[in-house]
């Protein structure tokens, strides 16, 4: 993009093109994107530095009087057992973000490789892999997650990888579609002509271009994984540790909601802002790189 703007000739070309292209040249990520990234950065920093910052122990009982609203001592108030809701939200963010990150990383590595292999080699390989994706998508997502966590255990690793399995098919389909398109392009044919091996073409030529649409999907997918973890927590099938879902589930009893709704509503607010930031950033990246396939 920047090349077009700097060289005089290209600029003339750009102007003579239709309005859409000119818009594309002018396109920026925008202030909203940086606010979203800022929020995510703040969240990650807080989560990483949590043990060093003067927050209460999230499991400490009676760190303030029970069932009080937000105050200077307890920013988000306290729950029925007197635990500090702010500290719990911060430590809950640790689990939620880690689950979201591992899940989408797993989906990118496994789904991305399978999708690229399917899109590059096509034929039989493609049929088998596409059928695998199709079968995975035939399970309603949460049902598959429930099946896996109920057969295995509920450690952070299992829950993250389970949600990672759910990400395989959508990511894989996108990678396959993008690879199908790019594999026909001149730069790939050129690589083939000079005798590059399949592995080299896949990793050096195709991976960098396929990664762009996948990056947008990764941001959106991380939000989906964080929400899915919360859903599992509501079914009491998520991690035994505290996550956002676990905290919200703890505070949603009729009595809790009636007497101290902030126990559920405060983490809901933080979670909403985070999902919003991920969705917004993902959407902006997608528009910025003009990715058309969404695969969702």
């Amino acid at each position: 993009m920047s090349e077009i703007e700097t060289t005089g000739e290209s600029r003339l070309e750009a102007i003579s093109m239709d309005d859409d292209v000119v818009d594309a040249v002018k396109k920026k990520l925008g202030v909203g994107f940086w606010i979203a990234v800022g929020w995510l950065g703040l969240l990650v920093a807080t989560v990483v530095l949590a043990p060093l910052l003067p927050f209460d122990d999230p499991d400490k009982l009676a760190s303030g009087p029970a069932r009080t609203g937000p105050s200077m001592d307890n920013w988000f108030g306290t729950d029925a057992l007197g635990r500090d809701v702010f500290a719990r939200t911060v430590y809950g963010a640790r689990v939620s973000l880690v689950v979201g990150f591992i899940a989408i990383a797993f989906g990118m590595v496994v789904g991305g490789s399978l999708g690229m292999i399917a899109g590059y080699f096509r034929g039989r390989v493609d049929q088998v892999i596409s059928f695998l994706f199709f079968t995975l998508l035939s399970f309603p997502g949460l049902i598959l997650a429930l099946l896996i966590t109920s057969t295995f255990d509920r450690t952070l690793r299992t829950v993250s990888l389970t949600l990672g399995v759910l990400a395989v098919a959508p990511v894989g389909r996108l990678a396959r579609a993008a690879t199908l398109v790019f594999a026909e392009r001149e730069f790939v044919q050129a690589a083939r002509v000079i005798g590059a091996k399949h592995f080299r073409i896949l990793t050096r030529e195709l991976l960098p271009v396929v990664l762009i649409p996948m990056a947008a999907l990764a941001l959106l997918g991380m939000g989906v994984a964080i929400v899915a973890e919360g859903g599992l927590a509501f079914l009491q099938l998520s991690v035994e540790d505290i996550s956002w879902g676990v905290i919200i589930n703890d505070g949603r009893g009729i009595r809790d909601l009636q007497e101290n709704p902030h126990v559920a509503l405060m983490p809901i607010g933080v979670m909403f802002l985070t999902i919003l930031a991920l969705n917004f950033a993902g959407d902006r990246v997608r528009e910025y790189f003009d990715v058309r396939e969404t695969a969702f």
């Binding site: 059928f131 199709f134 079968t135 998508l137 035939s138 399970f139 309603p140 997502g141 949460l142 049902i143 429930l146 099946l147 896996i148 109920s150 057969t151 295995f152 939000g223 929400v227 919360g230 859903g231 509501f234 079914l235 009491q236 099938l237 879902g245 919200i248 589930n249 949603r252 009729i254 909601l257 009636q258 709704p261 559920a264 509503l265 809901i268 979670m271 909403f272 999902i275 919003l276 969705n279 917004f280 959407d283």
Partner: protein, 336 residues
Amino acid sequence: MKQFILRRVAQLVLVVFSVTFLTFASLNLVGDPLFNIVGVLSGIPDEQCEAVARGEIEDTQSSGLNVGDCALIAQAKEQNNLDKNVAERYGIWLSDMASGDFGTSFVNGDEISDIVKERLPVTIRLIVLAQIVALGIAIPWGVASAYRANRGFDKASTVGSFGLLSIPNFALGVILLYFFTLRWQIFPSRYENAGWWSELKALTLPAFTLGLGLAATYQRLLRTDLITTLQDDFIHMARAKGMSDRHIMYRHALRPSMFSVITVFGVNTGALIGGALVVEQIFSIPGVGTELVEAVLRNDPPVVISLISVVAIGFVLINFFVDLMYGYLDPRVRTS
């Protein structure tokens, strides 16, 4: 068209087999189903019982067994076909299930087909109601946005739908429960089924919980498609004939703009089924979701397998019919 349907049916059969087999195998291979029927007795090694059968050791206290233990295990194995391998058991289970016999719960001996008959209609009503809510909101909303695209209302809608899509459904459920049930006491806090009116009231909030996010998805798609359709010649024609804008939007432009909504309708039903599990928990609705979670927590594999299979098959069927409908509406799909 015929070939298209045949190919889809073949795909459907394959997927139903793989989905049910995956469910069946994962719950049978991991964990010991025998343990759920006979408890600690399942810990007795097979060799020991074989030795008893051959008469080599006595089936009494002296060998660490109680009288009749082995007979009990043998009986449990035979009744539940546990003496056969997983593939055989899968075959038996599948043919039983096809004839409507879902077996019984390991834990309380309930007929699973009764559970399904009792629970499934509630969940189906919830999902249908959620779809009605979603479409009921999305259609007028999408039309209003597309009618004056990129103006004030449309821009506000974009922000609004973006926000709705970022609220997890369980969070929305908790928020709605807090305001509408606890604060303003408009809706009952308990599920009641004394006639259709009380059930409708009990299902309204859960349906909105599931439907609002979906409405935002549909609105986005409908808006985009409508804007494209509105560029078409037949719309100019209708306008030139002096038809009212409302008539043009709803009668002329809406139907050819529904393709994207129909496509995601099937996929979204899957999300709705997952969402229904969670939302049923929040509003304590006695549907498939609450039963499934209870069955998982009380470690009752036959019930879990049956419920997951029923739900998964239902989902596959819905997508199958959506595909068919799509192929019927848009000829290009049949050949691809």
